[in-house]
């Protein structure tokens, strides 16, 4: 197998990236990573990631902004907090993964057709307008946005089973005081 290695020059790195992520994840300890690999060995999804959690932390420290933000790794984090409770340096790895997702969305470099990114955005939208999530509508929007009508068809038998057992609500769930919620959400805006 031919080894392909892309050389990254110093000027391609972003010296502010580490600080940005520290701020966004409310985790000051990122510098203290000792590269022990506990996070990666605790991660149920590491094998599917393009960079392991340990590598992501090293790359954040090194300023590899472009590579980190375009990576699938944060989108393959299922927020299990295993790494976070085990890290000997008290690095909030799960919170960092969340911060990376937000930053990737804010800078518009997130994988636009990757179901997890789309689902997060769609659920956020539903929630902002109605105050509660509705699975059916979430699913419909998800398959539409990922251009995956086949996926929708494959879900049909499950949908029927959920309907039969009374576990699928067809109506759009919503809170009463939507006005209050909208006012609140209009006045706060994060996303990094």
């Amino acid at each position: 197998m031919e080894i392909q290695e892309k050389v990254i020059f110093e000027e391609e790195l972003d010296v502010n990236f580490l600080n940005d992520i520290k701020k966004a994840s409310l985790c000051e300890e990122i510098d203290r990573c000792i590269q022990c690999g506990t996070c990666t060995s605790s991660c149920p999804n590491a094998e599917y990631m393009d960079y392991s959690p340990r590598k992501i932390i090293a790359m954040i420290k090194g300023g590899f902004k472009d590579q980190v933000l375009k990576s699938f790794t944060p989108w393959l984090c299922s927020s299990c907090y295993n790494c976070q409770v085990r890290c000997p340096s008290k690095i909030k790895i799960t919170d960092i993964m969340y911060a990376l997702k937000r930053k990737a969305i804010a800078e518009n470099v997130y994988p636009v057709r990757f179901p997890i990114a789309v689902m997060d955005k769609e659920m956020d939208k539903i929630l902002t307008t109605s105050g509660r999530s509705s699975e059916l509508w979430l699913m419909l929007n998800l398959f539409l946005k990922t251009l995956n009508p086949l996926g929708l068809l494959k879900m049909a038998p499950l949908g029927l089973n959920l309907l039969k057992t009374g576990r699928l609500s067809l109506k759009k769930e919503s809170i009463k005081n939507k006005k209050q919620l909208r006012k609140l959400l209009k006045s706060v805006k994060g996303g990094t």
């Binding site: 911060a99 937000r102 997060d120 706060v188």
Partner: protein, 296 residues
């Protein structure tokens, strides 16, 4: 005695109706008349946190302040809600400038949050406040012979737990034992089910859930009990995918721990949401009927 307000979360109104249908009557039996929070909103779960962290603090702040107005602590059975609320609570009471900003915006819409509310999981209240002795007293019908794999998943035991171990918790096992059933030694009890990834990334979902179910089968469990709506959902719906992918035939019932509690308390079986199971429960009923007598 009742200092709690019930925060159902979205799942308990849709795919996890049987959680609510069992938690409420079980707590009632134990003397807690749980009132549902008026006009509660969604906690945002893992999705909103991936988009906008201030929004998460704000919507959870609304929930916390509604509880404060009612002068009651929050009882949140859903693992994702429990974590979101606990996380937001520690953020909002942290005294930072960012927290002050969110609190000010909440005040603008007439919702002041002073930070007096605690967020608890039913399991925590059952074990620490009500106690196993009282639970044992309520048992009318011992679940003898039933082998149960207690599955805790992630977000109740990590990272905010103060009532159990993040790696090898035992509170649900003790509870199940108090009902007369037999908890099996379940090494996968805090391994991740894939959460929101599972249903969307089949490859990931079927593998993670196969690990969980295989371990339960290996230990001879008749049923897996859980405390999380999303775990229950994943464990149920991935079984057909696992069967195809790994060429195995598994029919492992997945129930909320509260359903087994209701059953042991002698509450009417029909009212505890057993009919909502996507997996047939026949083998489990049979086992319960003969109290495990056919076991070697």
């Amino acid at each position: 005695m009742n200092n709690y307000i019930y925060y159902p979360g979205c799942s308990a109104k849709t795919n996890a109706k049987h959680y609510e249908e069992s938690i409420l009557p079980v707590f009632k039996e134990l003397g807690f008349d749980l009132e549902e929070m008026e006009d509660w909103n969604c906690c945002g779960a893992t999705a909103t946190m991936s988009v906008d962290e201030k929004k998460v603090a704000a919507i959870n702040g609304r929930i916390l302040s509604l509880a404060e107005t009612a002068k009651k602590d929050i009882l949140a059975p859903c693992a994702a809600c429990y974590l979101s609320l606990k996380k937001a609570n520690s953020f909002l009471t942290g005294g930072t400038d960012q927290a002050a900003e969110i609190l000010a915006r909440l005040k603008d819409i007439g919702l002041e949050y002073k930070g007096t509310i605690e967020v608890k999981h039913p399991l925590e209240v059952l074990i620490n406040e009500i106690g196993l002795e009282k639970i044992k007293e309520k048992v009318q019908r011992k679940l003898s012979g039933l082998k149960v794999a207690c599955y805790y998943g992630c977000q109740v035991v990590r990272p905010f737990t103060n009532f159990d171990d993040p790696d090898y918790p035992e509170s649900m096992d003790k509870l199940i034992q108090a009902l007369g059933a037999e908890p099996v030694e379940y090494a996968a009890k805090t391994r991740c089910c894939g959460g929101a990834l599972a249903a969307n990334l089949e490859e990931v979902g079927s593998k993670l859930n196969y690990i969980l179910i295989k371990e339960a089968v290996k230990k001879g469990a008749d049923v897996i009990t859980t405390l999380c709506p999303l775990c229950l959902f994943n464990l149920e719906i991935m079984q057909s995918k696992i069967a195809k992918k790994y060429q195995v035939n598994i029919k492992m019932p997945i129930l909320f721990f509260s359903q087994l509690m209701g059953l042991a308390f002698g509450l009417p079986k029909e009212d505890l949401g057993f009919s909502r199971s996507l997996i047939p429960l026949k083998a489990m009923w049979k086992k319960l009927e003969n109290g495990g007598a056919n076991e070697q």
